[in-house]
Homo-oligomer: 291 residues x 2
């Protein structure tokens, strides 16, 4: 196991504070194991952990034994047992991996058992359903949504605004594109984005192309210092990145959105995931149904 | 609660088979709760569930009480208690939501307790760390990676190939762009993609622009019928989408990659997440370290 960056495998660990390896073992992609495992690890001292490795597609006994061997090797190398986050659903594969020299956490097993009682059903215990391609229609609609986001990025085209569930507005580099891509990929939503030009801000009126879609509009804004920093990493020492230019654009865009009664969000301290969830919540798009 | 699509709240449920609502309650974005909850639900009959709703940013007592009220309302409306997946870390907020008329699953609590014993540490129990913007450097490197993917999509530019960790190859619509965007957004990797032209396939030689980056190249391919179907939804009844054209391109591209000794993957039955994990695994990019 080689960390991409950070502490190398052969560096000396403080014996008082052994750094452990973390394994995410899954019969599918490992996305679920990583997501929950990462959430749990954020609650502890980062210095407790050395490197994390995903062992995906562990779906037969040979692969389970290879996973066990790799985990045991890490225990031997590090002098401390690794943490194993497992989402294996097959009982016999789970037993093989659990039998490693590791602290083993079965992320699904306990919950499946209690849900079986509550729902009075036997769980399918079918592997790799969560992030596989088994739901073909849902999959194709996500790909379609990603293509839509790319075709309607940065005001490129207004052709599909009628099909859009949401159109994000704001000045350049405020976070529109990553938010659109995230919403399309994770939620399968058709999201366009439109950058306000300096002329549109000066006019203090909504551009005509946006007017028929007022109910789908949502704005993003950000603190001037932060935007100046972001733009500077793209075009250092430019007027475009100067605090005075950025401040004028942001003040103007916020004023325009207030005049036009468009809701907006300050993204300064927010991650893409947080921006996405808040936008979904404010736009009433946060519920999904089971067809 | 209004489902976006599917069964409406007022439709009659089969009394023998009551459909329950699902709530994901979190003090952060709800991404972790949704990911694990969704994995668990895939193991049961979809017909057991009616609609799912995320209740994010439940980070004070008022919001916890509002969450409780909404959950109780759903129990009353549906005549069956909903399923609540919670990643709340604050004990007093958890008690309020747990006290609803629901089947409550605490996704983190039990694991935090056992990890505390194993690591001989007290968990921080700090909310919203997993998908927040607290790790500023990591966050900026993801945004940078998404911009890189966009700038180097579809052979647009070769300027940054030196900075790329990976360059995906293949014919048009084989899945390169969504895979690049996913890898940049979820893993912060700099991934470019390059579409083989018909001329390059006929020449059966790697285009000069790719030759200095041989170690970063990885190919995607797909079954002809599937690609024809995908291209048809973009350009129906075109030569571009015809099975004969698609078959010639794919056979040629695969042969080129074999001649040039470039590894490639058939994406026909795979989701974006699966393609991403397999590519990372084959390219040895699957380990991350804790700095």
């Amino acid at each position: 196991m080689l960390p991409i960056f950070g502490m190398g495998a052969n560096e000396q660990c403080d014996p008082e504070y052994p750094r452990r390896c973390v394994f995410y073992v899954s019969d599918g992609t490992g996305v679920t194991a990583q997501t929950l495992g990462h959430s749990l690890l954020t609650q502890f001292n980062r210095q407790s952990f050395k490197a994390a490795r995903v062992l995906p597609f562990v779906d037969d006994e040979n692969k389970a034994r290879r996973a066990q061997a790799e985990i045991n090797q890490s225990a031997e190398d590090d002098g401390v047992r690794p943490i194993v986050f497992s989402t294996l659903v097959n009982e016999s594969l789970k037993v093989i991996v659990r039998d490693s020299d590791a602290f083993f956490l079965d992320l699904l097993g306990g919950f499946i058992g209690t849900l079986e009682k509550e729902l009075q059903q036997t769980a399918g215990r079918v592997r790799g359903l969560a992030h596989g391609a088994s739901d073909h229609d849902r999959y194709m609609s996500r790909i379609d949504a990603v293509n839509f986001a790319l075709q309607h990025d940065d005001g490129l085209s207004a052709d599909g605004y009628g099909r859009a569930e949401l159109i994000l507005l704001g000045v350049s580099r405020v976070g529109k594109t990553p938010t659109c891509l995230y919403l399309s990929m994770q939620h399968g939503l058709h999201v366009a984005n439109y950058p306000f030009s300096v002329e549109e801000i000066q006019a203090q009126r909504l551009p005509p192309v946006l007017r028929p879609h007022r109910s789908k509009l949502f704005g993003l804004t950000i603190q001037p210092d932060r935007l100046s920093q972001i733009r500077s990493s793209r075009k250092p020492d430019s007027v475009y990145a100067s605090v005075s230019q950025v401040r004028a654009e942001l003040t103007g865009a916020e004023s325009l959105m207030q005049v036009e009664n468009i809701a907006y969000l300050d993204t300064t301290l927010l991650s893409i995931e947080e921006i996405a969830v808040i936008v979904l919540q404010r736009c009433g798009l946060i519920t999904e149904s089971f067809s």
